[in-house]
Symmetry: C2
Subunit: 158 residues, 2 copies
Amino acid sequence: MYIQLLYMKELEDILKTKSEISLAKKTVINISLTSVDFRDSISNVLKPFDISIEQFNVLRILRGQNGKPTNLQDIQDRMVSKMSNTTRLVDKLILKGFVERFVCEHNRRKVEIFITKEGLKALETIDPLVLSSETKLTEALSKDELITLNTLLSKLRD
Amino acid sequence: MYIQLLYMKELEDILKTKSEISLAKKTVINISLTSVDFRDSISNVLKPFDISIEQFNVLRILRGQNGKPTNLQDIQDRMVSKMSNTTRLVDKLILKGFVERFVCEHNRRKVEIFITKEGLKALETIDPLVLSSETKLTEALSKDELITLNTLLSKLRD
DNA sequence: CAACTACCTTTGTATATACAATTGTTGTAC
DNA sequence: GTACAACAATTGTATATACAAAGGTAGTTG
């Protein structure tokens, strides 16, 4: 399982001890460490099912299409990752029997991808576990605090 | 340059439109997207210098040692990443002339790593650029808002 | 002191990502 | 209608990470 671990534990210590660190730097570190924690937890939820977070996201995109044909570009537009990656993510999902790939008849440059029944079934099992994990990850904050946090993050990302 | 891009743009849309998404899920997505933005920006700052964020972090750890011998385990303890990775990160920094590696005389199992003058010089150039980027990334929020944000994040990560 | 264990690092394999180049298809312009 | 550009996807290479296994060194124990 792929868990992204980018920032130093040392920086975590700095966060606690040296308050003279710039607020900007502190914020960047804090966000990054939190993100790593989240990603780690969700990866652990997915681990028994042998799919990565990225594969999980592709599956959810395909389910969201409700059977409509989805080409790689469509998936790509909904991912932040690069095209190159999407091809290979789909390769792995095909191997697992969760998706199928066909050449588009109307435009042979395109490739159409569908989620299989097995893929849907896997999502049904996994979804509530992920949601449960997400709930647990955020339970240290009250509803109001979470709303404040989300407001600040949205403002930050404009 | 290595920019990790984990969550879907689609989820970003959900963030804005469908308010019925669970607050927990929303928070996890928001944090992840923010982290990706930050990482992307800092990677772009480092790109002209041809070093990754991870390599940059190793260099800062070594500088923090002020010439004291630093073995891989020391670096490892300050990184969140795995040992296996640290060996290869150091390999690449050696190729760039930023660090040196020697077998420890007192304990031949250990490997001592030092930052070179060139490594220090690179850090001196890069540090203010990174700080500037971090400042820009957070300037949408006031000082008080940043303090609130950091407080909430710390609470979340306990 | 030989065997065992613990320690420190390295190596191997699979996954994910960034970026660049390439392949194959469609559409367009001359 | 052939050459060229645009489009859609794939492939190649380098980096980073997770996890497991292996290698070499030091200490410990019978």
